[in-house]
């Protein structure tokens, strides 16, 4: 039998937060309250996924967006996911498969209590936006078995050849027109209004502009943000239930102003222990983080003066920094292009190009890959990515392993050890560079 021992909480300590983090926390809390109040309000719920999240469309039907991955992350951050994963394994799910799925299924089996302590609602519809991850398909087939509700497949073809073809876009637009929209109309009882969709898309684009400014602020030295650990907070609203809303516009405008102030003051990122000290290492990170020991993981970086200036995980719900914006003038095509372009739907050569460019553009010292046991979409091929990026940029890369929400796969000592070695490697590389000069 496996026993998970959760470390006892240490003495209460105030966590430093940006004003934007506080604002975001309030937004998320309000959204969870909206979800758990559904039995009182009568609103209907649409469950869907972060990559390929069609929030602008979902809102056209007055549906409330529920994202099971985000629920699993919340369970991870609250250290509940370990027990949920075990529960799922107890009822027959393999130890080998995605722990997001098992956390979600275990949470359901244990009463489906959300992060606000209240019961999460059953979905009225599962919008299976099959984008960049095979597991999504099985996950919603598993949920469909449980909830027996309408399930809508939206298949996003993979960019295997590194391009979006007309055939791909036409296929997706047809699915939206002929399958997704009519079914959402039926479930919600609300008629589709394309002008309403256009309005939502306009709002998305405004927030996306500000998000890109925030992410690209990391080109400054010192970087005013951490684009991985901090980045996870920054992407929360736009990857979740807020893209296409006034709330998202307000949040990203506020966040951008906050970041610009930090640049003006020559400050680095805010960490849970306050302003980060001197920036010593600038890293690009590939892969999702670990959530069960998120703060401990982050601390290993900022204690050493390491800041992440660009990350691929912050592009998993949309790649905006390469120019894509939701376009109200071609509302369905733009939704298709959005889904097609998310990071995990990009071919391996495209991912390598993107990472190598980040290393150069953000003047990073090297690449760190956090390889996640649960996530083959990210992880399969990462060792080749590492070698290829090293070869192209001449900058050192390192590889660590953990998991999303399964605490059994987070080994703090191993990770810390590898990070320390990696920072030494960067120092040696610098010393070598100085000697050569």
């Amino acid at each position: 039998m496996t026993i998970i021992v959760t470390p006892k909480a240490g003495p209460a300590k105030d966590i430093e937060k940006d004003a934007s983090m506080v604002k975001q926390k309030e937004m998320m809390a309000a959204h969870y309250d909206r979800l758990t109040n559904v039995p009182q309000t009568g609103e209907k719920v649409c469950a869907t996924f972060v990559p390929g999240n069609l929030n602008e469309l979902i809102m056209c039907f007055d549906l409330v967006n529920n994202l099971p991955e985000v629920n699993a992350i919340q369970s991870g951050l609250r250290r509940q996911s370990g027990a949920y994963v075990l529960e799922a394994e107890k009822i027959g799910h393999s130890e080998d498969v995605c722990t997001y799925v098992k956390s979600d299924i275990g949470m359901m089996a244990k009463g489906n209590i959300g992060p606000n302590g209240k019961k999460m609602p059953d979905p009225d519809v599962l919008l299976l936006s099959y984008t960049g991850c095979f597991t999504f398909m099985k996950w919603f087939e598993l949920l469909r078995e449980q909830y027996k509700c309408e399930t809508i497949m939206l298949h996003t073809p993979y960019m295997g050849d590194g391009k979006i073809t007309k055939n791909m876009t036409d296929y997706m637009v047809k699915q939206l027109k002929e399958e997704v929209i009519p079914k959402l109309e039926r479930v919600s009882g609300v008629k589709f209004d394309i002008d309403r969709l256009r309005e939502n898309l306009k709002k998305s684009a405004r927030a996306e502009d500000d998000l890109v400014r925030v992410l690209q602020s990391a080109k400054h030295k010192p970087s005013p943000i951490d684009a991985y650990f901090g980045g996870i907070y920054y992407i929360g609203p736009i990857f979740g239930a807020f893209r296409g809303t006034d709330d998202a516009i307000d949040y990203y405008s506020f966040l951008r102003a906050e970041v610009e102030e930090r640049i003006a003051a020559g400050k680095g990122p805010v960490t849970p222990d306050g302003d980060m000290g001197k920036e010593k290492y600038r890293l690009v990170v590939e892969g999702p983080p670990n959530y069960t020991n998120f703060r401990q993981f982050w601390k290993m970086f900022y204690d050493e003066g390491a800041v992440v200036v660009a990350s691929t995980y912050s592009k998993v719900g949309g790649v905006y920094d390469l120019g894509f914006r939701h376009d109200p003038d071609k509302p369905l095509e733009t939704l298709a292009e959005y889904c097609l372009g998310v990071y995990t739907n990009r071919s391996l050569p495209m991912r390598i190009d993107m990472i190598a460019n980040y290393l150069n553009e953000y003047e990073a010292d090297g690449l760190l890959i956090n390889s996640i046991k649960s996530c083959n979409s990210f992880s399969a091929g990462q060792l080749l990515i590492m070698r290829e990026v090293e070869k192209r940029t001449g900058k050192p890369a390192a590889f660590i392993e953990s998991d999303l929400v399964d605490p059994r796969y987070f080994s703090a000592a191993n990770i810390k050890n590898r990070l320390e070695s990696y920072f030494q490697m960067i120092e040696q590389k610098r010393a070598g560079g100085r000697a050569a000069a």
Partner: protein
């Protein structure tokens, strides 16, 4: 010893199939290519590609299903973390070690994220090879998924024509469709025969004969199946007191041959399975009249196998293909054998098990890797399963 119509003995046919299986340098495919400088070979991974299009170009479709238990993986492990299944690492080993250096193209079907990403790795590692991620629709309407798929097929047909230096014609494709229809009819006949008299066509033998179709020209493979069926029909083999099972979950990374043998030795006749689905993915003849790409697409959408990599739009239909396989083959139970770390098989398994439970069909489950060596636990588990079926089933 039984012989076929043309005089081949069962043991000779099986020995030929075994030799092809054992040959990790793909000598027969190399020889086929070497015989004519215009010939090309296009490899493909599980679970399905339209081999008719490759054949229509005059090329040899070559099934690559990993390295099995005889390939020592030296380089391949350096490309994958420990928690990723074995087939991509042994496939890379085949590539890096030069065993498939004669292959001109590689198709990576849409089966899971690992094989999907391998397509990009292959592009990076073997830049002179034509590489295509072969996406298939998860929408089964002719006007949506069908239309998308016809265009994808047309693109593949165009690319292979370019590789040949001359476009593939519709007539060439119609001819290839007819040849593959015949091959699929024979494969179905083999499966029906084995379901009827499993002691006459043991699972490991049937598998080897089927597997030969991955490396032989289709015409030669059809002849081999015909010969095998004729030979085993004429031979009386000892009938054991085995129960009858369907083996499932084995559609991508292949189980070691010893695993298949062990299941039968432990008392379970395998009367149906999802091994090498490419050989019978299309469950009906593809029409040879009319537009060939549309015919391929329509058959794919409406008359093809069900498996974990395919979305099932109808909840009531989920898993019913397995129940039907059990009923059709008069199986008494199901063995789930899934490769370790296989997302499609392992995520699918609980849903299929629920369906079997509702249908009161017993099952067991275990995992394997293509290089699993220790069969004793599997033999014990399968043996206990066979005993429990004999003791406790209603029959």
């Amino acid at each position: 010893m039984a012989t076929s119509l043309n005089g081949s003995k069962t043991s000779d046919i099986v020995a030929r199939a075994q030799a092809l299986f054992d040959d990790l340098s793909f000598t027969s495919a190399r020889q086929w290519k070497a015989a004519d400088p215009s010939r090309k070979v296009v490899g493909y991974l599980p679970i399905y590609v339209p081999r008719e299009i490759i054949h229509a170009a005059g090329f040899l479709p070559l099934g690559i299903v990993g390295g099995g238990d005889q390939l020592e993986v030296i380089h391949g492990d350096a490309y994958y973390q420990s928690y990723i299944c074995r087939i991509p690492r042994s496939t890379i080993e085949l590539g890096v070690s030069g065993r498939i250096d004669f292959v001109d193209g590689m198709l990576f079907p849409s089966i899971c994220d690992v094989i999907r990403n391998l397509s990009g790795m292959w592009k990076m590692m073997f830049p002179n090879v034509y590489v295509r991620y072969f996406d298939v629709p998860q929408n089964y309407r002719d006007d949506i998924g069908g239309s998308y798929y016809v265009n994808e097929l047309a693109e593949l047909m165009h690319d292979l024509g370019k590789l040949r230096g001359k476009p593939i014609t519709d007539d060439e494709l119609r001819n290839s469709i007819a040849i593959y229809n015949e091959n699929r009819r024979l494969v179905r006949e083999l499966y029906e025969f084995r379901a009827e008299r499993p002691w006459q066509a043991p699972a490991a033998e049937a598998y080897l004969v089927l597997r030969a179709g991955l490396v032989l020209q289709v015409e030669e493979h059809s002849a081999m199946i015909r010969d095998y069926l004729a030979a085993v029909r004429n031979e009386e083999r000892p009938r054991r007191d085995n129960c009858r099972v369907v083996l499932t979950g084995v559609f991508c990374e292949q189980p070691p041959l010893n695993l298949i043998k062990s299941i039968e030795l432990a008392g379970c006749y395998v009367v149906d399975d999802d091994l090498l689905l490419v050989t019978r993915w299309l469950t009906a003849d593809v029409p040879t009249e009319g537009k060939p790409l549309e015919n391929l697409a329509r058959t794919f959408l409406h008359q093809s196998e069900s498996t974990a990599a395919k979305y099932e739009p109808d909840l009531k239909e989920k898993g019913q293909h397995l129940v039907r396989a059990v009923r059709r083959s008069r199986a008494e139970g199901v063995i789930f054998a899934c490769p370790s770390f296989c997302d499609p098989a392992l995520l699918e398994r609980p849903m299929l098990q629920h369906v079997l439970k509702d249908a009161e069909i017993p099952y067991i489950a275990f995992k394997y890797a293509e290089n699993s060596g220790q069969m004793q636990p599997i033999r014990e588990q399968a043996g206990t399963f066979a005993d429990s079926i004999k003791l406790w089933s209603g029959a």
